[in-house]
């Protein structure tokens, strides 16, 4: 089985997850161990059903919305910061 190299730091960045240097080095060993275990699925012959009949995404109809504002207060009250019926976030785009 080929060696799996895992750049944990890059993964953590993708996952938007701050990870300490100590944990990075521990995970650098643990994650490849786990991946070597799950890699046994490669042994299964390619003669597998194509397409995913049993598992597919299920969407509800985009119809019959509830009355606007019915849950706004309840949901906003859970947010760390709110103002004028909106959730407050840090500025995303900056002017040059």
């Amino acid at each position: 089985m080929k060696d799996i190299s895992v750049d944990v730091e890059a993964l953590a960045k993708l996952a938007k997850l701050e990870v300490s240097p100590e944990e990075l080095s521990r995970l650098g060993k643990e994650i490849p161990d786990i991946l070597r275990f799950v890699e046994t699925i490669q042994e299964v012959s390619e003669n597998v059903p194509q397409g995913d009949v049993a598992h597919r995404n299920v969407m509800r109809e985009d119809a019959d919305p509830h009355e606007t504002g019915l849950y706004t207060k309840d949901l906003l009250d859970a947010a760390p910061a709110q103002k004028d019926g909106r959730i407050v976030v840090k500025q995303v785009l900056k002017k040059k």
Binding site: L11, K16, L17, I34, V38, L75
Partner: protein, 470 residues
């Protein structure tokens, strides 16, 4: 009243016969909790005042002759199921102070019955773990032997029922999280058919795997509880139409090759002895081939982390839960998540991110989905000839606190026999079937039965026989 022997069925009879009131019953559990939960730590929060109020409301209904199957029954709720106005933390730091904005559908159904909610139970953070040691708020101890874990992730719910701190409890099962703690604590746990019980208001972990189900002391109680919480729900897009329960036949298949290694010998002996008793009671027990079952755990540990990494992206410090201040929004995300998530959750998010990442998704995620179809096909074929498939619930009994917590692979192997049902979406039950001795203590061992989709009826009839014969 003897809480150790009390069942939902008996409590219903006694409540309706006015032998004791729902308030008496609730107070008895609250006293037990006050006396014993300091040691067990099944609960993260106990709602004594509201529980007494709910009990009084139930008593009024009972007095008016309007009781339903669960009216006045004191239950515990796993901390990942939402009750409006209550904290639901999933035993995590990131949601430590999160107050639920709405009721889960299962909670709505239980409120319609006028149950008594005793409190929310400890669990592995976001339901990731098999020992409840991954809780951000301390470990739960197994009431059978307090040096041991109760199993997980619904360990608090199992310990509450086994320790007579609740008459029944709600759990969730993504890879064994109801059945394995039920097995380790000596009670009954049901993983329901995928889509049979609404997940609206359950914090998602692995959306193609998660199901809510009951933990109770008897198979009969499990059926009573299941009948209340199941049913189609338009708010869960994976919900399936209502179905009638059919009784089970007497033909059980055993995927014997899957049991060749990894099971502790005396646990296997309990399993085989249970099969022998069923045979003596008129069952046909046959070895069957399910060649893809050994791939279940590897497939699970690709699909589950993949779904975890996407589902837990919602905890970002913006809409709810912990939010750590930082200079940029990117840092708000990474600091909040880095601080708010525990180590197993971080590990799974990173594994999931890897198996979904460009260049690896074909070899890991897509391959795992394909092999999952083969596993489902193995089940489909088996259920053409058999009424149920039997496996041990877990390869060993409850282990010592601390024994596996630093060894993720050892912990993952706890679920080797239980993840199969989640991958196939079929229902499965764990029923106490015997004990094995460790360090002078008899520890319970569960017997697991799996049935075809919508086949809970077969699990209840065969499970009741296992119960009777054990």
């Amino acid at each position: 009243m003897d809480l150790a022997k009390l069942t939902i069925k008996e409590a219903r009879r006694a409540l309706d016969a006015k032998e004791f009131s729902a308030l008496d019953l609730t107070n008895a559990y609250l006293e037990n909790i006050a006396r014993r939960d300091g040691e067990i730590h099944a609960y993260l929060e106990v709602w004594a005042d509201s529980a007494r109020k709910e009990a009084k409301a139930a008593d009024a209904l009972i007095a008016a002759g309007k009781s339903k199957p669960l009216t006045g029954i004191p239950i515990a709720v796993k901390d990942n199921i939402l009750i409006k106005g209550r904290i639901a933390s999933s035993a995590s730091k990131i949601l430590e102070k999160y107050v639920a904005s709405y009721d889960a559908t299962v909670i709505t159904r239980l409120k319609e019955q006028s149950v008594v909610f005793l409190g929310r139970t400890n669990m592995d953070e976001f339901a990731m773990g098999s020992s409840t040691e991954n809780s951000a708020f301390g470990v739960t101890k197994n009431p059978v032997d307090t040096s041991r874990v109760p199993g997980g992730s619904s360990g608090g719910s199992a310990a509450a029922v086994a320790g007579n701190l609740a008459l029944a409890a709600l759990g969730s099962d993504t890879g064994g999280s109801i059945r394995q703690p039920a097995s380790h604590c000596g009670i009954v746990g049901l993983k329901t058919t995928y889509g049979s019980v609404s997940r609206f208001g359950l914090m998602p972990m692995g959306s193609s795997l998660d199901q809510i189900g009951p933990l109770t002391k008897t198979v009969k109680d499990t059926k009573i509880f299941f009948d209340v919480i199941r049913g189609h729900d338009a708010r869960d897009s994976t919900s399936i139409p209502d179905y009638a329960l059919q009784g089970g036949g007497k033909k059980i298949g055993v995927p014997r090759a899957f049991l060749k290694e990894g099971v502790e010998p005396d646990v296997l002996a309990v399993f085989n002895a249970t099969l022998e008793r069923l045979k003596a009671a008129g069952y046909t027990i046959e070895d069957i081939e399910m060649p893809n079952l050994p791939y279940s755990l590897p497939v699970y540990y690709v699909i589950c982390p993949a779904e975890v990494s996407t589902n837990l992206a919602r905890y970002d410090g913006i809409r709810y839960g912990l939010s750590l201040p930082a200079d940029t929004i990117q840092e708000v995300y990474s600091k909040t998540r880095g601080t708010g998530f525990g180590s197993e959750v971080r590990r799974r998010i990173l594994i999931g991110t890897f198996v979904l990442s460009s260049g690896y998704a074909d070899a890991f995620y897509r391959k795992a989905r394909a092999v999952r179809e083969l596993i489902r096909a193995d089940f489909k074929k088996a259920f053409q000839s058999y009424d149920a498939i039997a496996l041990p619930t877990s390869p060993g009994p409850a282990f010592k606190i601390g024994e596996k917590v630093n060894d993720p692979m050892a912990m993952y192997l706890e679920d080797i026999f239980s993840v199969t049902a989640n991958l196939a979406g079929v229902p499965a039950i764990s029923v106490p079937a015997g004990v094995v001795e460790r360090d002078g203590t008899n520890l319970p061992v569960g017997f697991q039965l799996m049935a075809a989709h919508e086949g809970e009826g077969a699990l209840f009839t065969i499970g009741a026989d296992v119960e009777k014969l054990s």
